[in-house]
């Protein structure tokens, strides 16, 4: 059962079409929503939260209609905005407890949940200090914690790695992976960097200029491409000549030879060629696609 399904979703602002007839479905798990800045990612999240009525088309989130059941959706999801949204003179604990209560948790439960999620995102003693003194990494963690405090079934994370250093980025990506895998909470995470989403997502939706470029599982993007990458020490040209003579379709690509896979016999051909020429074989593997190729 898809957790998000949109149907011809269109959003026009005066002079701009932010979303153009988007239709896609999202299955449970971690889903990346990728697009350049201004591609319509944040607008899409606002619409899915039921906060912004679309110009036309519709969508269902957790099987609730965004137009009719917005309030119900907002009980079941969490939202981490892209921008800074923390008051500086309040501690993380005070803030997250409060937002837990506002999500409907009784006072005691809100305190317990806030302590739990702040620990899970990796905030310890510093959670009692005013948030004005926090680093960007810590602020991102509080923003994530407030999205999780009411134990939602789905969280929308808008550019959670924005502004983080490489270590903070790795931590955040690992956390997102854990939310999906270990916490059992589905995630829709946006980014303008495909590479990082490839690492943590089960599926990726790519939008560009408000249009859907593609929506499929990460494994589909990165499936075998039907080509073989071969790397040998010294003698690449000789091997290329030999393979070509024997009828293989082969071309050089940097340090590698790329050989089109005609079937199992291609592997034998390469093996025998390397052995006949007495070369040292460094690598022979199936070439895989990268998600980036969608944009080429």
């Amino acid at each position: 059962m898809p957790i998000i399904a949109t149907q011809d979703l269109t959003m026009r602002f005066p002079g701009v079409t932010a979303l153009d007839a988007l239709s896609f479905t999202v299955e449970p798990g971690v889903t990346g929503l990728v697009g350049a800045n201004g591609a319509g990612k944040s607008t899409l999240i606002k619409i899915l939260l039921g906060l912004l009525p679309p110009t036309s088309g519709g969508a269902r989130v957790l099987e609730h209609d965004i137009a009719a059941d917005g309030a119900r959706i907002r009980e079941l999801v969490g939202f981490m905005p892209e921008y800074d949204c923390l008051p500086p003179d309040v501690s993380a604990t005070e803030f997250v407890v409060h937002l837990g209560r506002v999500s409907g948790l009784p006072a005691t439960a809100a305190r317990e949940r806030a302590a739990d999620v702040l620990r899970h995102v990796g905030l310890y003693e510093e959670r009692y200090r005013p948030m004005g003194g926090y680093s960007t990494g810590m602020r991102q963690k509080v923003k994530l914690a407030q999205a999780l405090v009411h134990d939602p079934r789905l969280v929308f994370l808008d550019e959670p790695t924005n502004g983080l250093d490489p270590r903070g980025r790795d931590e955040m990506l690992a956390l997102i992976r854990r939310i999906g895998a270990e916490f059992g909470i589905s995630v829709l995470v946006t980014s303008h960097l495909l590479g990082e989403l490839e690492r943590v997502c089960d599926q990726v939706v790519i939008i560009d200029g408000g249009r859907l470029l593609s929506a499929q599982s990460v494994s589909a993007y990165t499936e075998a491409s039907g080509r073989l990458l071969v790397e040998v020490e010294d003698g690449r040209e000789a091997l290329e000549r030999l393979l070509a003579e024997q009828g293989a379709s082969v071309r050089p690509d940097g340090r590698y030879l790329v050989v089109d896979l005609a079937g199992e016999e291609t592997y034998d051909l390469v093996r025998d060629g390397v052995a006949d020429l007495g070369l040292a074989l460094v690598r022979m593997e199936q070439a895989r696609h990268h998600i980036e190729e969608v944009f080429r």
Binding site: S103, Q146, H150
Partner: protein, 301 residues
């Protein structure tokens, strides 16, 4: 360091999820605490608590004087207490209204609320109710103190043979009327201050804007009143009170709540103008609430 703690797995929440009234109550309490700086560090508590102390001081002093002189005239008129101390109330409005009205806008926390099951109406009404409560406490506590002081000293005033000592029943009715006046003050002043603070999200500007509107309206009305009184036009002087927040509410106190006209200057609201002043108060509250809703709805989308 804390890996042992970290390894406790994620626990789902399967307890109760409470509805709209719990959410509204949580918002109200959070805002009420914020007005007095609770949960916001020491510096945030300083101004509101100091102002609250300043409000109580004259009442406490007056009771001391009353018990010493034993003359009923020494008792401060309950309905005039807020008028006499309006500079302190104005400072409270100017410094604390931005806490409620503009922090969520300036730090962009509003979308965190509206992405939860929070209605705009509840969000705004919780803020309004919290600020009204704070202001009401600020004014009603000293007035209550005055009345308790009067009740305690009254016996000895009668024993000392002071003339015209009000009866307990009469003075208690007057006390209740003064409380109603305090509530109306709280409603009108909150609307006016929150609205201005909402449209000036930078805290410094918010403080300055609330102060400016209060002072300028006062000065303009005082000039108009001075001119019309010197021309003998007391009615016009009274009507001018509609255009400054404190006189607006006092018009209702003077004409509908039985406020003592003797202690009011010639610029008291004209006879029969009470309903107009009350309608004007309600209009200020209603229009402010509508504009506040509009402002926050825009900030949440």
């Amino acid at each position: 360091m804390s890996t042992a703690i970290h390894d406790i797995g994620y626990r789902h929440y399967d307890g109760p999820r409470l509805g709209r009234s719990h959410v509204a109550r949580s918002l109200y309490l959070y805002n009420l605490r914020a007005v007095f700086g609770l949960g916001r560090g020491v510096r945030a508590k300083l101004i509101p608590l100091a102002l609250a102390a300043f409000m109580i001081l004259p009442a406490a002093g007056d009771i001391a004087v009353l018990s010493f002189t034993k003359t009923p005239e020494a008792l401060i008129d309950y309905t005039m207490y807020a008028i006499y101390l309006q500079p302190i109330i104005a400072i409270f409005l100017a410094t604390q209204a931005p806490v409620i009205a503009s922090r969520d806008l300036r730090f962009r926390t509003v979308p965190l609320y509206f992405s939860r099951p929070v209605e705009t109406t509840d969000f705004v009404l919780a803020k309004f109710a919290a600020f009204v409560t704070a202001l009401l406490a600020l004014m009603a506590v000293p007035v209550t103190l005055l009345h308790l002081g009067f009740l305690a000293v009254r016996g000895s005033m009668v024993d000392a043979g002071a003339p015209d000592v009000p009866s307990v029943a009469d003075q208690s009715v007057y006390y209740l009327a003064a409380l109603a006046g305090c509530l109306l003050f709280a409603l009108v002043l909150s609307s006016f201050a929150l609205l201005i603070a909402t449209y000036t999200p930078r805290r410094g500007f918010g403080v300055a804007a609330v102060m400016a509107v209060y002072l300028i309206s006062n000065v303009v009305v005082l000039i108009v009143q001075g001119a019309s009184i010197s021309n003998g036009n007391y009615d016009l002087a009274g009507w001018a009170g509609l255009f400054t927040p404190f006189n607006l509410v006092d018009g209702v106190q003077a004409r509908l709540l039985g406020g003592d006209l003797g202690v009011r200057s010639g610029a008291a609201a004209p006879a029969g103008s009470g309903p107009v002043f009350l309608l004007a108060c309600l209009a200020v509250v209603g229009v402010s609430l509508l504009l506040l809703m509009k402002r926050f709805r825009k900030a949440g989308a």
